[in-house]
Symmetry: C2
Subunit: 300 residues, 2 copies
Amino acid sequence: MAAKQSSFDLNHFLASRTESVNRALDKFLPSEKTKPATIHRAMRYSLFAGGKRMRPAVLLAAAEACGGSDAAAMPLACAVECIHTYSLIHDDLPAMDNDDFRRGKPTNHKVFGEGIAVLAGDALLTQAFEIAAQAKGWPRYPHRDLILELARASGSLQLVAGQVADLEGEGKKLSVAELRYIHERKTSALLCCSVRLGGMSANCTPAQLAALTDFGYHVGLAFQVIDDILDVTQTSEQLGKTAGKDVAVQKATYPAIVGLEKSRKIAAQLTAKAFGALDIFKGKAVALEALAEFLLKREK
Amino acid sequence: MAAKQSSFDLNHFLASRTESVNRALDKFLPSEKTKPATIHRAMRYSLFAGGKRMRPAVLLAAAEACGGSDAAAMPLACAVECIHTYSLIHDDLPAMDNDDFRRGKPTNHKVFGEGIAVLAGDALLTQAFEIAAQAKGWPRYPHRDLILELARASGSLQLVAGQVADLEGEGKKLSVAELRYIHERKTSALLCCSVRLGGMSANCTPAQLAALTDFGYHVGLAFQVIDDILDVTQTSEQLGKTAGKDVAVQKATYPAIVGLEKSRKIAAQLTAKAFGALDIFKGKAVALEALAEFLLKREK
């Protein structure tokens, strides 16, 4: 595996895709001057706050693994990033996680006030569907299916369900199964949706879509376990957000339930499963493989 | 006009369509027992709180005026009602209008707490697109266009823009033009979108769509002017929500800016324009005509 990836420049891939995604998002979103200016400034503030564009990256990488083009995948990549950003804005609200900082910057409601922060989240969620509708459909994957895919991953059975369970789990002693329920919904659902949409934008085969689903599910879970680990092992400065917060609010995390060592093992196992899912691409999913390695080795 | 409508039983139309819409919404929404139960109880609490189903009603009436079926229009009717309900839940939040009662019942955040109320709104907004995607598309009005229609009417240039301008206008002296800007976005946009989607579900002609757009725009504006009038002329008991609230928070309203008498005249003029727009249907838009009359004569 290491040999396969040695020729692949992940840094270049991430930098160039981030730039393309940012350019596309800038085009899709109304300008800061568009009336009412407050809402567009608030939407752009969080959307261009230095996010890692991990979901767009896996979406574009999945499209490439299936022989698709960035152009066809781009509206969907922008849509998932809008969904991700909206969920962070609402998650940071005082009534939810009550976070003052995100990516080293004051959170949306700290800058624009709670009312506008709620509305900026609402507007980004709505914008996501407006952008996704502009993607190219295929007879096998018509617009209907693309919208359903995005809505289901973001709705009350997935992304929102994860937030709810997370909110209700605070201060409670959760089992590993309960914690996994939260992670599957809070992180895995949208990551899995991202790789699936990437495949769909490339008119992938049903077998490829199944492999991408398997990959996305496991990478998403690993990603969240690592987030938990980093919260206890890194400083606020390293993370660009308040470290040790999970412990402070007695949030259930993998390290809290099974310990740090076992958490690292679980993350590694999940990533191995993700890699296994990519076998079907016979070496063509280099970007996806490199991304999975990167997600496991990241330090913030 | 009165003679034309004498044979049309609006009460029967509203009762039967409300029942169909409620049945369809009940089918589309996850049950109260579906995990996580809290979010589905919160979504259903506001969705089934006795709303007048005015947007679904005009959507279904528009579909009928164009020779369409309720079955084809129903997913879109449910989608606009989900959007409307989400906007009310978020609008009632302490950070926004800070309302304790809505339709005679405690508001969502009063029952479920602010965090869940934010998420219930998010989930209903997402659900709207999931439901809309399940509507039947036509070559002239494919899914892409239906989703774009819904997203644009609900996004940062329309519905959300209205909320923002409303929020920023509180306590300020607004001109009639500024007030109309708010009304066009806060109420007219989604009402106009509703009648347009009704027509699109019926595969209407471009001329019919233009007439419906004209109708929806004017009925929406009239609807909001009447809302303002009722706030100063009715009691909380009659309205089922806190009356006199606009005056209390010094909100700009038509009665506050131009007086009650002129506000009533404006509402009547807007409705006359709406009626004029229906001429193209040559008497086939009886339900839409009756609805417009009802909206002008309503007392809550």
